[in-house]
């Protein structure tokens, strides 16, 4: 490890930031339950998110130049103790997750009041914070088993959150149950993979794992471990043929949860994949390169098209977005498969840009649900005139979803295309552009429904309150902002990519 490792002499609050990043939301969750007040639940959750956002920004600023922070929990030295290890890659993810949470929560207040039964509100926000801290934990930790623990924390609370959509549609229960079964299978595979690694190396610390795997080289146990981890994480990130839990989960979850999960959960899983492929294992292993190129890449390309086609034919806005997410994950995986700095930059920056885009769109869905009860195309037709602000935000973020220049979506696709061309894989670049055309079709269908079809005669929809509009527009403006001011995101993503590859290079 080339980076300097600071001994554990953390004395000031500032040195404890990595721990506070997790502890604040993690303790806020039981606090909500103990307080037991429906009125206090939301403010506590929001305050915890804001504090997390501030901390994650401070951490990001510390590591953006390529530095690494390590934090030893309880003063136990790794590999015995658990280590939190922050570099540009996970600081970026931490920032994305907490920023999305801060934007989505104000929106959630109104939306959740409408979609979730009132008596469940306290538990809802407690579960939300658990899910949030689970996702943050997955991103921050430097311990492979700890990843599993946090993954389970976030997953279990996610099942609860999805099931809480049952007040609106009972199918949320089956969706949550299905996801529970499949998510558990995924987590099991993941932990089996870690078990294999432990068997082969005798350590669980990621940096240590990397060292030992690096010196002893690949063997059957390590390879099997890699395969199991890949499949386990692949399931969590809705890697194409294992995506089947996602459409129902996103469709029947409360809209605020769909917005939060779409922008963060799969992104964190992508981060885990990045971490394992580039830090724990490395592209120096032939088996990894081959797996990426012959297993992941074909499926990623398939996802870009098959899921987009499915999205084209959907008649429900929310479900369409779910399928579009599966297609977009294909782009991120494709970027990873390029195994170059540009490709990784594309994957990481798309992770962020797609996160804000989908947050905006799913929040708009929530706005339509609030006024129309449903988001089938024949429920939301003509809303361009009745809900002009929401619909305008849909247009902006829809453009970003397509990847129109001037929007965030363009930046990531441009970098991805450049990455493919850099390797001389121009057919791949062509496929990226061609699949973007499918995005034009499915986004256009929504715009047509919103603007070119008359509203239903019995529609009484009006514009949603400011508490929802402002978060929607923050996300929509972010889509434009990060499409024009690309330095911030690209610098962070480049730095993250260089960090991941730099570690991998040794």
């Amino acid at each position: 490890m080339a980076t300097e490792v600071l001994p554990h002499t953390a004395m000031t609050l500032h040195d404890h930031l990595p721990m506070l990043q997790i502890l604040v939301p993690f303790f806020a969750a039981p606090l909500i339950v103990f307080l037991g007040s429906r009125r206090l639940a939301w403010p506590v959750a929001f305050a915890a998110s804001v504090i997390s956002l501030v901390i994650s920004w401070m951490l990001l600023m510390q590591v953006i130049d390529g530095g690494v922070i390590t934090y030893h929990i309880g003063g136990w030295e790794p590999p015995l103790g658990i280590e939190y290890r922050i570099d540009a890659a996970n600081a970026f993810v931490l920032f994305l997750v907490s920023a999305v949470s801060v934007v989505v929560l104000p929106f959630a207040k109104t939306s959740v009041a409408d979609e979730v039964a009132a008596r469940d509100h306290t538990l809802f926000y407690a579960a939300y914070l658990l899910c949030f801290s689970g996702l943050m934990g997955v991103a921050i930790t430097g311990d492979a088993f700890n990843v599993f623990v946090f993954l389970e924390i976030s997953s279990l609370s996610t099942y609860v959150l999805i099931a809480s959509g049952a007040a609106r549609d009972k199918r949320a229960l089956t969706a949550a149950y299905d996801y529970l079964i499949m998510g558990t299978i995924g987590a099991t595979f993941f932990v089996i993979g870690i078990g294999f690694l432990y068997m082969a190396t005798g350590t669980l610390n990621m940096a240590d794992l990397a060292d030992r795997i690096g010196t002893q080289g690949g063997n059957r146990t390590v390879e099997a471990g890699f395969a199991f981890i890949l499949v386990g994480v692949g399931l969590k990130l809705a890697f194409y043929p294992m995506h089947l839990w996602l459409p129902n989960a996103y469709t029947f979850a409360p809209s605020a949860i769909s917005a939060f999960l779409a922008a963060t959960a799969t992104k964190v899983a992508v981060y885990v994949l990045l971490r394992f492929t580039f830090t724990v294992f490395s592209p120096a292993f032939q088996f990894e390169v081959l797996t990426l190129q012959f297993v992941i890449m074909p499926f990623a390309l398939l996802a870009m098209f098959a899921a987009s086609f499915v999205a084209v034919f959907q008649s429900d806005f929310k479900r369409m977005l779910a399928y579009s997410s599966i297609a977009q994950i294909g782009y991120m995986l494709l970027g990873i498969c390029l195994l170059t700095e540009t490709g990784l930059t594309a994957a990481i920056v798309h992770l962020f840009n797609h996160g804000i885009t989908k947050a905006a769109l799913f929040m708009a869905v929530g706005a339509y649900v609030l006024r129309n009860k449903d988001t089938f195309y024949n429920d939301i037709c003509g809303m361009g005139r009745k809900m002009p602000w929401t619909s305008a935000a849909v247009v902006i973020s829809g453009l970003s979803l397509i990847g129109v220049p001037g929007t965030a979506g363009f930046v990531s696709k441009w970098v991805l295309v450049q990455g493919a061309l850099e390797k001389g894989w121009w057919p791949i670049a062509t496929l990226v552009v061609a699949s973007s055309l499918l995005a034009v079709v499915y986004v256009w269908r929504v715009i047509e429904v919103l603007y070119l079809q008359p509203a239903r005669s019995d529609s009484t929809a009006t514009e949603v309150p400011m508490s929802m509009l402002v978060p929607i527009w923050i996300a929509a403006i972010a889509c434009i902002w990060f499409g024009i001011d690309t330095d911030t995101t690209l610098t962070a993503a480049r730095s993250a990519a260089a960090g991941l590859l730099g570690t991998a290079g040794q």
């Binding site: 499949m182 089947l244 459409p247 129902n248 086609f309 008649s315 363009f410 450049q418």
Partner: protein, 565 residues
Amino acid sequence: MFDVFPPVLVYLLGAVLLPLLPNAALRAGLSLLVPVIGGWLIWTLPEGNHAVVSLAGLDLTLIRNDKLASVFALIFSLAAFLSLLYAWHVRDRVQQTATLLYAGSAIGAVFAGDLISLFLFWEGTAIASVFLIWARGTEGAYHTGLRYLLIQVTSGVILLAGAALYWRETGSLAFEHMTLGSAATWLIFLAIGIKCGFPLLNNWLADAYPVATVTGTVILSAFTTKLAIYALARGFAGTELLIWIGVGMVLITVVQAMIENDLRRVLAYSLNNQLGFMVVGIGIGTELALNGAASHAVASVLYKAVLLMAVGAVLFRTGTAKASDLGGLYRTMPLTALFALVGSASIAAMPLFSGFVTKSLILSAAQHEHHYIAWAVLLFGSAAAVMHTAIRIPYAAFFGPDSGLRPHEAPAHMLLAMGLTAAFCVAIGVYPKALYALLPYAVDYKSYTTYHVVQQLQLVAFAALVFAVMMRAGLYPKSERSIVLDTDWVYRRLLPRVVGALSATMGAVWALVASAQERWLRGIILRLYRTHGPASRIALNWPTGSMVQWVAIVLGITLIVTFLS
């Protein structure tokens, strides 16, 4: 932020402000003010590269001003002003805003110094202009608009793909002269070709333009195709292939323009035809030829505008633009008829009218460079243009057999717009030096030589004679049959057969291609629906079983791949 104020921003600001104004006259006034301010900005814009912004690590040059760019930007401003004046009566916010955005994007594209900003404005023209077609409000217009949008956006996507490849190959995004050869330049060439109406890529033009609103067609005719001409002149001047493409454009549209009944569609074909002249000029690529292409673009924007305005006024007053339903309108619309005649004289390249001083540049260039076939085709095209547009339009609408219609004269603002445009046509013809001074290269050319004047007059006279003979003989397609035939039997027997057979074959081929395309597309969509639609296996709803099966399959594949390596 910028060292100069980009003219496109004036249009954007205008488009933002305009929908907020409550009063229609105020809106129309603002929309007229925008091109004036924009034009003044363009006039005073210093040469060179300005307003460089950084996007995703790329430097975008929003303003690259030289004489080639400024002449197109100026004519676009003028066209925007004239057509907005013509559209004074329009109360529809959408059309007014779309017009400003459309003109602004076209001007922005002309000044774009790199391929990315060119792409942005390129798509801007596509998206803004489609609203002028949709504004018609009919079901047909909606579908036509969608087709139009699809083709235009595709052109933009191809341009972007070309730009990406170009960057990869050369490391530069600057939009400069390029040579055909690599995939990148071919893609860019193709993207421009679609907008320019190259043969076989041109069907959107005659499909969409006549479907727009009365004012929309006038506006559409000015920008998209001329922007493509500019892009060709900038990027591919001197590409020999263009000469043949231009020749093809001149030839392929002649028959269609002759047999079409809808006068606005006739003008669309004829527009496509005139583009062929400019493309030939760009293909020749000498200074004289490029000057010719640029000046012909200017002239053609103006005379095409005045003709479309006249036909539009007829449509506005009578509700039809079909040749078979019109005729004899000069009695009640004398001024409109007069302006249409000026437009006709200009497209016919009569001495003292604009077409004469611009078309002769291209013809001379072809002669100088010994492209005799191209020269002959252009000459033929000129004669045909005299027939199918210059004589036929006034004849069918204003003179010709009386239809019995007695509409009012066009409204005052339309007359004013037409009058101004017609005045420009004459002014350029009478005093070409003013236009020549704006052209990209210094002009040392005399258009009013005896040779040119006589040649052109002969051409026009001959074409007029042919038209008269065909009309008298009832040989011109879709003409009156009441006149007794007493002319040469060869023409009587031969020409109708040739024209009839040609039109029948072409029509049949087009219909066949169109229906095959439609069937094919429908088949693909149906098949996709079956495999990817909501009821398909891919979109299965409650899928734990299949999911677990996939997990096993993926794990199996991964294990095999890792173990084998």
